[in-house]
């Protein structure tokens, strides 16, 4: 069948052996690839008794049938595992080049099991798999290691962990192509627990396309649509994602000082406009991406990719810091150490509040830009106070008897959007299967940017239907695996058409949404099996009880309860948030 390589690479680090076998194509057609396929495989492999940092947990790397075809943004790949930060199912996806190279090596899926007795790295050169000793590489930071292992964007690509992953920080990322990240939920710690330092891939295979002429036309159409959209042809390339800083601040939804306020007086100083005017070196892009939203920024101390909006916010407004060079340097340091920037910044903000309120003995204070870099170093190496911060804000705040000060949902630190000013975003955070996350369906489009159409951000009734639709679309795009920014220019119907052209299987738009819904429900089943309940579909008390006293969101808290009831009904779940038998039958999940 075209599109898929139809091959699984299954690696056991304990014995340093591997096997390959055919991909279950019935499963592939139902879940496509990426996040969906990863979730389905994890369901069978990792049960509730498995500790996320034990050898029994697995890392499942997946691409999709579009990966490596050259379709716009067909560079992405995904990793699925049980999260050591949240205990939920976790999938994280990343761009760059590695995903395309992995597909060209001839596999749809790579499963990594067990634990190597000594540090190891894996080299995949088409069909040849080699296990190397990584004892001398252990301790290396990401940038130096990536260069040492021969990163060459279109030919040889490096995926690795830094010191944070080695030291089992539960907010450690897996990095690829130097500065791209499988960031959220701590997959870097799972890789570290396996004593696996890096996976390097080289590939020569070209993905087979069922209808090359139709595919070529789809490429042309997508290019045209992306060029026509002001969002993908102007907004993202010109200012990058950080352009959101001023608008989110303007509408009173920019979480500030650990969500104590919803507007930051220093927003302009850390905005996309400021970054572009004073620190931007040039744009860059992932493989096969015409959007080029990546920033290459430079300060007196560093030059590197980013920072993205969420990272700028996490070290900026959330920490009360308006020093953009310090933020750029913190972002680059996280990439080199292999830390998730959102969780790292929000955890430091949590520590700042704990310290200022006298709950924790440290000198961390909001606004102290000079404290960012040393605190991040301490976190990655688990030195001093950094050891407390290395496992995220919920464990930190719980240790100091104030778990309510962790700005997380299901233990995952939330991103920049304060949901008191965006009710749908609040429901989205509370119900996200991997915890507080803006990539599981982002309501900033409809609630603030008017994309595709503006809806009232304070509206509660009826909001759940938008959230459900956006969650299902996000899960379907994550299963293809494409960049969600394409969806600003290319509608879902085009994804179905290009998937049909590549695979030869006729997918309609509704089928794609159904893939997303199927994936979402399977992830929900996984979390329920792990012991999560509807009580975990919640938000920090601050967001539910403490209304901002000024700004456009003044007087608002998240009206979660009515939205959640409506959401469960809309999902076809019972009042306890459990998918009904009828819903599971409808999605072909009744056997699970």
């Amino acid at each position: 069948m075209s599109g898929w390589s139809e091959k699984v690479l299954d690696i056991d680090l304990g014995t340093q052996t591997y096997k390959t076998y055919p991909l279950d194509m019935e499963m592939a057609q139902l879940f496509i690839g990426g996040r969906g396929l990863g979730a389905r495989l994890l369901w069978d492999m990792v049960s509730p008794d498995v500790d996320p940092l034990s050898p029994e947990n697995v890392l499942i790397f997946t691409n999709g049938p579009l990966t490596g075809t050259g379709y716009q943004t067909s560079n992405r790949f995904s990793v699925t595992t049980k999260s050591p930060l949240t205990g939920t199912i976790l999938d994280a996806n990343s761009g760059g080049f590695w995903g395309m190279q992995f597909k060209k090596a001839g596999y749809d899926v790579m499963i990594v099991r067990g634990r190597s007795k000594t540090p190891a790295w894996i080299e995949i050169r088409n069909g040849d798999i080699t296990f190397h000793d990584a004892t001398e590489l252990w301790g290396m930071r990401v940038f130096a290691l990536t260069e040492k292992l021969g990163q060459d964007n279109n030919r040889r690509n490096v995926l690795c962990i830094g010191p944070a992953g080695e030291n089992l920080s539960r907010i450690a990322a897996i990095m690829n192509d130097r500065e791209r990240a499988l960031a959220r939920g701590g997959p870097g710690a799972v890789m570290g627990s396996k004593n696996l330092k890096a996976i390097v891939v080289e590939g020569k295979e070209r993905p087979e396309i069922d209808d090359p002429e139709r595919f070529k036309f789809m490429l042309y159409e997508a290019r045209k649509l992306l060029n026509q959209s002001p969002l993908t042809s102007q907004a993202l390339p010109e200012f990058g994602t950080v352009v959101l800083m001023n608008i989110i601040n303007n509408v009173g939804a920019l979480a500030t000082r650990n969500h104590q306020q919803t507007q930051f007086e220093g927003a302009e100083a850390i905005s996309g406009e400021e970054l572009t005017d004073n620190y931007l070196v040039r744009n860059a892009s992932c493989w096969a991406c015409p959007i080029s939203c990546t920033r290459i920024s430079r300060t007196e101390k560093v030059e590197g990719e980013g920072p993205e909006f969420e990272s700028t916010w996490a070290f900026g407004a959330q920490c009360g810091i308006d020093d953009l060079p310090a933020i750029i340097e913190a972002n680059t340091l996280c990439n080199d150490l292999g830390l998730d920037t959102i969780s790292a910044g929000s955890t430091i903000a949590c520590a700042m509040e704990l310290s200022e309120k006298g709950y924790m003995d440290s000198d961390l204070h909001f606004g102290r830009a000079d404290q960012l870099a040393p605190t991040l170093e301490a976190m990655a190496y688990r030195r001093d106070i950094g050891s407390d911060l290395a496992d995220g804000s919920l464990r930190l705040a719980t240790k100091y008897n104030h778990p309510e000060l962790s700005m997380s949902a299901k233990g995952l630190e939330m991103p920049a959007y304060d949901p008191r000013g965006m009710q749908g975003q609040g429901l989205l955070y509370a119900t996200s299967n991997r915890g507080g996350c803006h990539m599981r369906g982002n309501m900033v489009g409809p609630e603030v940017l008017g994309a595709p159409k503006l809806i009232d951000r304070f509206q509660v009734q009826g909001k759940s239907s938008f959230v459900i639709l956006h969650q299902n679309i996000a899960a379907s795009i994550d299963s293809l695996v494409l960049c969600k920014f394409t969806n600003y220019g290319v509608a879902e119907e085009y994804f179905a058409r290009v998937l049909s052209a590549v695979t030869g299987i006729q997918y309609a738009t509704g089928d794609m949404i159904k893939v997303g819904e199927r994936t979402w429900n399977l992830e929900r089943l996984y979390n329920l099996r792990e012991g999560f309940t509807s009580r975990d579909d919640t938000l920090p008390p601050r967001l539910l009880n403490d209304a901002p006293t000024e700004g456009p969101s003044k007087g608002w808290v998240v009206q979660l309860e009515p939205m959640l009831k409506e959401y469960y009904r809309g999902r076809g779940w019972d009042e306890n948030g459990v998918p009904t038998k009828k819903k599971l039958e409808e999605l072909g999940l009744e056997a699970l």
Binding site: L231, F239, V243, L244, N246, V251, G272, F309
Partner: protein
């Protein structure tokens, strides 16, 4: 007099970040704005309507209709199409 704040590429087009503009409705403010900064005319408006994907807020609240009231102390923020996440 209401304050108009401009963002992203609108700043370069208008040559400024901020202007004081007379007008008691959004439509009146925008008309006066393009008189003061003619380069913004086709950028913000199209056939008498706000262009798609432009976000305009009055005191941080989204304003879609041109007849929205604007007070003397109000802040009108104008964002060209922007995206991200």
């Amino acid at each position: 007099m209401p304050t108009v704040k401009l963002y992203a590429n609108l700043r370069k087009i208008a040559g400024t970040k901020e202007l004081s503009i007379t007008g008691s409705t959004l439509g009146a403010v925008l008309s006066e704005l393009v008189k003061q900064s003619p380069a913004l005319d086709d950028v913000i408006m199209e056939n008498g309507k706000i262009r798609p994907h432009f976000v305009i807020t009055v005191n941080g609240h989204n304003a879609i209709e041109l007849d929205v009231s604007v007070g003397e102390q109000d802040i009108v923020a104008i964002f060209p199409p922007i995206a991200g996440g």
